[in-house]
Amino acid sequence: MQLTDLTIHQLHDLLREGKTSAQEVTRAFLDRIAATDERVNAFITVCQQESLQQAAAADARLKAGDGAPLTGIPLALKDIFITEGLRTTCASQILNNFVPPYNGTAVAKLKEQGAVILGKLNMDEFAMGSSNENSAFGPVRNPWNGDCVPGGSSGGSAACVAARQAVATLGTDTGGSIRQPAAHCGVVGLKPTYGLVSRYGVIAYASSLDQVGPITRDVEDCAILLGAVAGYDPADSTSVDQPVPDYRATLKDGVKGLKVGLPKEYFIEGLDPAVKQAVEKAVDTLRGLGAEPVEVSLPHTDYAVACYYLIATAEASSNLARYDGVRYGQRVDQDRGLIDMYMQSRAAGFGPEVKRRIMLGTYALSSGYYDAYYLKAQKVRTLIRQDFLDAFNQVDVILTPVAPTPAFRIGEKTADPLQMYLSDIFTIPVNLAGTCGMSLPCGFSQEGLPIGLQLIGRPFGEETLLRTAYAFEQASDWHRQQAPL
């Protein structure tokens, strides 16, 4: 077994026992990135020197017996996280030269623990996409099959873990952007409840939906990394002031008597047979462990995608107004006045999907349309949230597929945005409801592509999610499969 195959908790033990050093581990990952990333394209920026310096500092800290769970652990960040002194592009041409003067809260927490940051990861531009094809830095390729997409928008973050280029990564999830790529790449991803992790220093796509979350090799790592970044932050008014539980402490509590809801609206026609089969097998596995499957209904599911594409784009149209070429980022100025500079800078700086969503959102907020679109979408959102709260009166977790199909081919859906939008049909409702959801490997298609299982929990029910996922993981070996890379 190689160092790059290990998990956070395994590496932490080795580091603490002095059986390896952070520098040795970091070098192993840097070598692995160098050997594989031409094929994967997961990284936008690799921090060759800085990561080794951080590793050296971590080794000193470990030697002094002052190691935290993430001290010396090589991680990588979706390029949506603001990192002081380290270029942050959001995979957009308009920020291709942007070096932030500050660290976001989640990044600062990782740094406090002494984590090593290997680099910044590819993604769909401004987190808008489900395939990681909308990047100014080229598409990310699925480590299981280079012709396939890794999913998006945190495609780089999921592919990076699957390709064993970092132990774990942070992504963000607005409509499925952690869970869907995690499913397509055969790794574990968790979208926390809205308000659990600070959004300060995370470039905003849709502020009322965005959440930071971990992408890891196994469930225990997921609990560790979530615990590291979760918690109230006075710098984010939407973060919730309540204590963070020790997610690891309850991991092994099992699922005996746990009521698992199966929403009938999610097991529909058009669901890929391999996905259906894998998810049904997962239900059997959980039943075998003592859980009790129950059918539930989430009646407003059909409206979720439409609702999402109004709210998310409306917020995005406003969030992305600051990229105007005036203060930072790329400016195109042909000396034809201010309006021209705005138009040229934004025309050249944004890719087609970002432009499409800005236009959609601008339209939804326009006077005369606001009530029919934005306001109505907000009302639908309330209904969708209520669906979940009602279901959680009957069950402890909800189990669904993550995506209707395994990873599709690069270029397969780019011509049809609506088809692309439907790949998030099972993940979007969770963001609209503001609750938590996670994705974990539950099988493979005939073509050998990973399939993901989604567990959805009550608001701030991450402990239950992780405990259920851990029980399932212990009873299966999907997470031990490695991408042939």
């Binding site: 959001c90 006075p234 149209s317 406003s318 600051r322």
Partner: protein, 478 residues
């Protein structure tokens, strides 16, 4: 021609709040520092930065709402007003739109036309934009020190019917925000700015005419000029059979005229929507009550109290209460000394004169109420005369010493026992035989001449009453 039309005016005032830090970040709000020296990721609109509401701004808005009898909303919402401009770093301004913090208030004004109640539609909180610095050689540059500075927008009902009423409303509102300490009221620095919605309609017509919004009016004087000009302009259009169009017009201080900025059709669609970065603002009943308790006494109440407790004329009370610092000075002085009218004479007289001469605000007055009360006490006990008191006052102003020290050092104690100066009086009478004869011949007015001569010889220290009596006796030949 103007008499055919009724004028309708509504005002929107932007008051900059005096909090130490900005509305959504911890940067300082100090005016006039090096460009962009008071900025951070939040007020620079950097990617990933998030606003956090300054509770003090809310407190100030609540106070203003209470002082203008508004209803304070238990739940209000911050919204984004979207538009592009280089001084607006996020591409939107965080403001309040559908659910402002205060609504349905009122303000009573007095003008020559009588008293009137002006409705206040709403008061809301918002952030200011930055400032563009135009430099022809280097192009335009942006200073974001002012970005994110807290503003309060106070919107009136279209209840005013003349420029005089508009001025009275503005002055009253200005007085209140300064009294509350929520705004420094500095018009030159733009801390208190006003936009006016002006329309006219034929007398008796129920519907409002089409309004023009006048921008950039930054003094009480200009408001009258701008409104008068605009009313005339609209009347001219109607008289010629034309139609007034809804538009925004800019007041030009140099020419005293208004000119079109943009019409309604060109107006921005601001695409307001609730800011998802900020949670709804909840204001508890306790918070409102606490603010109510901390509310200072407002001018109207103060005037009545001064009249009642200190027994001074209404005119004096109004002058004294016009500015809070002035009123506080007077209040402190009367509490120490007791004689309301004597104190008001001094505060409105000598104190104001001296402040004006040295160009000082009353807060910086070198003669404190304690010092002044001490001096007035020396008048009461006949140690000094009112005339000498002015000399003592000036000396206190210059030296910062108290009255007793100055009276002692400069030997200003008045002489009541006149035996000591009798020889001097005799000498003066002897030196002016002609005037003595005229007086005795019935020219009583000459008494003043002799008093003056004696005062001159004694450096004003003689007790005036005693001196008068003694002189009369001597001139009568007793």
């Amino acid at each position: 021609m103007l008499s055919k039309y009724e004028v309708v005016i509504g005002l929107e005032v932007h008051a900059q709040l005096t909090t130490d830090t900005k509305i959504f970040c911890n940067c300082s709000t100090t005016f006039g520092n090096e460009p962009n020296s008071q900025t951070c990721p939040v007020c620079l609109g950097l990617p990933g930065a998030l606003p956090v509401l300054n509770k003090k701004v809310v407190d100030y808005a609540i106070r203003t709402g209470l002082a203008t009898e508004c209803t304070i909303a238990p739940r209000s919402i911050f919204a984004r007003k979207n538009y592009f401009y280089p001084d607006l770093p996020k591409g939107y301004q965080i403001s309040q739109f559908e659910l402002p913090i205060c609504e349905h208030g009122r303000l009573d004004i007095e003008t020559a036309e009588g008293s009137k109640t002006i409705g206040i539609t709403r008061i809301h909180m918002e952030e200011d934009a930055g400032k563009l610095l135009h430099d022809s050689s280097e192009g335009s540059r942006v200073d974001l020190n002012r970005a994110c500075t807290p503003l309060m927008e106070i919107v009136s009902e279209p209840d005013m019917r003349s420029a005089d009423q508009a001025i009275a409303y503005l002055k009253k509102l200005h007085q209140i925000v300064v009294y509350l300490g929520v705004c420094d009221g500095n018009l030159e620095e733009g801390s208190f700015r006003c936009d006016a919605n002006v329309s006219i309609r034929p007398w008796g017509q129920k519907e409002f005419g089409t309004r023009a919004e006048l921008k950039n009016i930054n003094s009480f004087r200009f408001i009258k000029q701008a409104i008068d000009y605009e009313v005339q302009r609209q009347a001219d259009i109607l008289e010629e059979g034309g139609r007034v169009i809804q538009e925004t017009r800019l007041f030009d201080t140099a020419s005293g005229t208004t000119r079109s900025m943009r019409s309604k059709e060109e107006a921005n669609d601001y695409r307001y929507f609730p800011d998802p970065d900020l949670v709804p603002l909840l204001v508890s009943e306790e918070w409102i009550e606490q603010a109510r308790l901390e509310l200072p006494e407002l001018p109207a109440a103060k005037i009545e109290r001064f009249i009642k407790e200190y027994d001074i004329p209404r005119y004096d009370a109004e002058v004294l209460a016009a500015e809070r610092a002035n009123a506080d000075y007077y209040d402190a002085l009367v509490k120490l000394h007791g004689n309301g009218k004597l104190c008001s004479n001094w505060v409105m007289g000598e104190v104001q004169r001296a402040l004006k001469d040295s160009d000082l605000a009353i807060g910086d007055c070198p003669v404190t109420p304690q010092m002044l009360a001490g001096m007035l006490g020396r008048i009461d006990d006949n140690t000094i005369s009112g005339k000498i008191a002015k000399k003592v006052f000036d000396a206190m102003w210059q030296s910062g010493k108290d009255a007793d020290t100055i009276i002692e050092e400069q030997e200003l104690k008045q002489v009541t026992d006149l035996s000591a100066i009798e020889p001097a009086i005799d000498e003066i009478l002897a030196a002016n035989p002609g005037q003595v004869a005229e007086y005795r011949g019935g020219k009583d007015k000459l008494l003043g001449f002799f008093v003056g001569q004696v005062m001159k010889a004694t450096k004003g220290k003689a007790n005036p009453a005693a001196l008068n009596e003694l002189l009369k006796k001597k001139l009568a030949g007793e």
